[in-house]
Subunit: 283 residues, 4 copies
């Protein structure tokens, strides 16, 4: 009897924390978590302003403490209740498997820096690790289902985009080497080595152009001009890939919808006659 | 009898001010309003040049006075005559409803700052409110019907574009935090806080690159380079979305046109035979 | 008999100067004209380098003289022989009509500045008019027929592109006014008036970002950031328009080609059966 | 008998060095070559950092020596064994033909600079030639077959892209001349000649905008603004071309796949009925 109550409670916790659940309790908890994540993001931003940090130091300290405790409890409740999910129903193996899902890893990284800050082995490293605090925001993506079209397009075109990325890396290598040999003798500080020249190459080909370093020789300007023009192509290539990806994705969804409708309603009245080009119904 | 004359006059005013009307009187009045709006825009621009303002101060004063009176009269005539429109035919409720349509709100905002300038509670605030004077130009959009394709494409793809915008905001947050922790210890003035770093992030990802602040450390340059490359993707994503939107919108319009033609003329001679690929008529 | 010889000579001149002609004589003359135009463009470029101009002043003088004489003779021969063309066969009216075609106007503008330079009314104006010398290069476009697809796409989408241009102008107006009111009190030299602020707006929205002027206030940076993000949209909009234009243009050409093939060969073997999806021939 | 052994050995060498071969020996050798090429690229990059070069000078010297010997041996083994390939089976003519294939030329350029460095005729020229060392990386492209879609799209649209490139060159010429006449009298150092102004034009139209030189006169800013707006079009044009190229390429591949399936399996079950819009099989 007690075990049953325990199981019912566990299932309730699982349901409340489960993103796909549609019960009211679940929606309230999910909403509260999102709001806390957003306030955490804002708090991180405002804490970086020296004047604000000084005046509200204790508020940030206690809010951070509260958030970490809240997210830690959430994390461990998730780990405890996950065995209600058929995919992770083995007490130990299921939980280990779940701990290594990308969502749980992100959640862990969001709370870990706080605990590690007690170790004090190197302050600088911990400081950089605090960037992970922002990963709390990643949780939001869990709740956005409309992302699926965009994500599908990127998945569908992953190999073409990878080739575009490979071409970009290759071009950056060529351009950095060329500009280094052209400009280094005249601007030894600006183009001090190929890795340094790479900064210039990427900022030029992406058409950002800060102007902190730029070529001054004829050869350097020629390389820079060609790189800028090729940069146009490197905007056109992924755009063309993604455009055709959207067109295909939407054509497939439309086709699938039509087939589903046929299976439900029989002959689709929206289909046009191949002879007269008009709706079959109108005929 | 008098009431009938009053009604006839009111209807005439309504017709003349109504953008959709095709009577000659209406076209003349609409044209005059557009020209006055354009001159107002030019006057605002030239008034901002110190030398011009000094020399023609009284001209600008009287022209502004004239414009506000003209637009005020127009505004109140519209409010008075709108009851001729079946959608707003109730004397009070109809007019209140009409006052809150976006067009009437813009018209009100275009004349309000002038009247409020007599109150003198804070000169600086009034100065900023003068920006609303430019909203007079918004009226022009009323007259451009060809906008519908562009507007439809944006409406059709609103959710995908919203996701792209969400991803942009998210990325800016991540990048600003990362660059702040990487560059702040070395350039405390340039990257003084996360909100300040956001300025750098948005200027980099949109590939503007003023060069007022830029990273100088290895980590900062790495973040900057990655952000610039991702920036290419943030040009490709909305472009792909809008491209497929145009393709769909135009395909739908073509399909609709063909169906309309069938309903008028019977079998569409432009439809090709599925066997020989030629027009049905030619066969 | 003499008149016939005269007519035959005139027709020969017409044929040789006519761009569409395929006789060997015509091709040689056309080629010589293109080469002279290209050398003129190169001469204009090199003449602008002070050291080169000093050393080769007399060469540039005589080459320019020769070119103008050559192009003048070409211009008058064209005017004289054009009556052989059925469209311009009336001695006076035909020639006047021909003189006002865009090609002849460009040719005239390319030689006129030289003759006007003897008048000496204002040297500076003549200097600016020399830019028209570059218009000689425009002649090259006459010979490029492959341009037609690109030109058709722009024609087909002219109205949508015009709306995009209108939106750009409108946005520049809004942004310039907003940034002027936000930044002028703090940077009176950089943002001295709305026309001056427009320079900043256009350089920001086109994502060029020279960095000669940039906002320093919170409001100004906010306006700049929003403008930069909107700038992405202003790359996406014309790209989407032009992409769908290319898709339509190519679909139409394919359709037209298929119909032409049917009219020549009867049932097109490339058309697929609507039942099995394979070529009708294969069946 | 000896000749047979010699032939067998030669064929084995040919097979091992042949990129299309699928034997284990070939895969191991190909992998080793790729890794050595990548290490060569890294070595070139790190050698350019003065501190690294000083500390590891002898390592770079011996690694470079080893690489050149390795690639030389590979090059000559390829030349020796190529007669096993039916396309190059003539002892002399086949080898000469093979030596002039683009792959063998690149391989030769990758090792040649090292041998030429013993000639010492001009150190500066040899230095610039070292850039060719990076061409070793080009070899990698041999192994990437997935490139074919991207390459096909560029080939398919070569003529349209050439026209876009021609328009770009033409526009740069016009813009450079115009800005030279507008800005030279006021900034004789920044816009000293038309070739110098071209650097500004290309950096503006590609929306890089370093900010090293920029117009300061009204006319110059007008030219700059127009050029920046046209720059948007020069991103849109190649993007539209490439987008439609991807759409066509993918449509053709889909069509080809369907036809292949028909030839293998008869009536393709994936083809939809023209009446009901559903799969023929479902019917």
């Amino acid at each position: 009897m007690k075990a049953t109550k325990y199981m019912a409670f566990k299932y309730k916790v699982y349901d409340v924390l489960n993103n796909d659940s549609t019960t009211i309790g679940s929606k309230v908890v999910q909403g509260a978590i999102i709001i806390l994540i957003l306030i955490n993001a804002l708090s991180l931003i405002f804490e970086s302003i020296p004047e604000v940090k000084e005046d509200y130091a204790s508020f940030f300290y206690y809010f951070n403490l509260f958030s970490v405790i809240f997210f830690s409890v959430e994390y461990f409740l998730r780990m405890w209740s996950i065995t209600c999910d058929p995919r992770f129903n083995k007490p130990l193996l299921g939980r280990v498997k779940y701990a290594f899902t990308s969502m749980q890893l992100i959640d862990l990284l969001a709370i870990l820096p706080f605990y590690l800050s007690f170790v004090h082995f190197d302050l600088r490293v911990i400081r950089l690790m605090r960037v992970f605090r922002l990963l709390r925001v990643f949780k939001i993506t869990k709740y956005v289902s409309a992302l699926s079209i965009v994500v599908n397009v990127f998945k569908r075109k992953a190999s073409e985009l990878a080739i575009a990325a490979f071409m970009l890396v290759f071009l950056l290598l060529i351009a950095s080497t060329a500009i280094y040999y052209a400009e280094n003798p005249f601007q030894p500080n600006a183009f001090s080595s190929i890795p340094d020249s790479m900064w210039w190459s990427v900022i030029t080909i992406c058409t950002v152009g800060y102007g902190d370093i730029y070529p001054i020789t004829i050869f350097g300007k020629l390389i820079g001009g060609v790189l800028a023009v090729i940069g146009i192509g490197f905007f056109a290539l992924p755009t063309g890939i993604i455009s055709s990806g959207f067109a295909e994705e939407l054509a497939e969804r439309k086709e699938k919808k039509r087939k589903d409708e046929f299976n439900t309603h029989g002959c689709d009245p929206e289909v046009t006659c191949p002879c007269c080009g008009n709706s079959m119904k109108a005929k």
